[in-house]
């Protein structure tokens, strides 16, 4: 159950990957309910969409990719696997 509010707290932690290592990019997540820019008027409709995106969308299967080093963190059964191999640990 990776909610976006949780995704928003994860950063890549591969050795020496310390800048531009957040946010991890979802692969194949096609939700477009939110506009790209913050709207001038924060109305109920926008807040409902925001609530939906942050708290209700759950990613069950997929992956997250580090924008800096391209490390792929898989998500399976709603659980992200953030473990690194020995040589990747800082």
């Amino acid at each position: 159950m990776v909610r976006l509010i949780t995704h928003n707290l994860l950063a890549c932690h591969v050795k020496n990957c310390t800048s531009n290592n957040f946010p991890l990019a979802f692969k194949d997540l096609g939700d477009t309910s939110l506009p790209a820019e913050q709207p001038d008027m924060i109305d109920d409709e926008f807040l409902q969409k925001l609530h939906h995106v942050l708290l209700e969308i759950h990613v069950e299967e997929g992956s997250m990719v580090c924008p800096n080093c391209n490390h792929v963190y898989p998500i399976s059964n709603g659980i992200p696997n953030m473990l690194l191999a020995e040589h990747e640990i800082g």
Partner: protein, 217 residues
């Protein structure tokens, strides 16, 4: 009385690979129950449990604070444990955010000084170094207890990061046994990280003398 979480969905097969709640777990639950009103008072927004295993402890915290009062983050190196944590959350209607991770590594940079309740019932049993290293690598049931020298090999790494995780009002609850040298842990946390501490509860269970220590600013 806060009810003990419902774990009836977990099976014998699960417990072959995932730590089954035992005396150490129950001491931590009792300590948290004793602290319940204080914990509610700090209005926690972020709870983080390291090594969540069955998910029993985080589900219990959810019972104390209310299911949607906070974000409940759980890590474990054991993939099967992360799965049990997720299902225990569902069974007890607490939205536990379960992830496979070592300690708090993927969260450190984003959760700076933001964790209000931090919990760790670590692998605390003294073993030889190699045994703890192997157990960390295979991430199965041995990883729930094998703690290396003084039983502190895994805990010591995490202790380095506690100060940077704790919010201003944050509290860290650590389970430890006598062999871990609790006076030394407390002195180090005070000298190196400026954190105060107190022993919340202790109990003898068979050969183990168990403690719950709380660290705070």
């Amino acid at each position: 009385m806060i009810p003990t979480p419902d774990l009836s969905h977990l099976t014998r097969q699960d417990y072959e690979h995932v730590y089954e709640p035992a005396e150490d777990t129950f001491l931590l639950l009792d300590a948290l129950e004793q602290e319940a009103s204080e914990l509610k008072e700090i209005r926690p927004l972020v709870c983080l449990e390291i090594g969540s295993g069955s998910g029993c402890v985080s589900a219990f915290i959810g019972g104390i604070l209310g299911p949607s009062a906070a974000l409940y983050l759980c890590t474990d190196i054991n993939a099967r444990a992360s799965r049990c944590t997720l299902t225990t959350g569902r069974q007890n209607k607490v939205p536990l955010e379960s992830m496979i991770a070592s300690l708090a590594l993927p969260l450190l940079s984003r959760l700076k000084h933001s964790v209000d309740i931090l919990l760790f019932n670590p692998p605390y049993v003294p073993t030889v170094i190699a045994e703890a290293e192997n157990a960390q690598g295979t991430a199965d049931i041995e990883g729930s207890w094998a703690g290396g020298i003084d039983g502190m090999q895994v805990t010591d790494i995490f202790l380095q990061t506690v100060e940077s995780l704790l919010s201003a009002k944050g509290r860290f609850y650590l389970v430890a046994v006598k062999e871990n040298n609790i006076p030394d842990i407390r002195a180090r946390m005070s000298d190196r990280h400026g954190l105060q501490s107190k022993i919340v509860m202790q109990r003898r269970a068979g050969r183990e003398h168990l403690f719950v220590v709380q660290f705070f600013r």
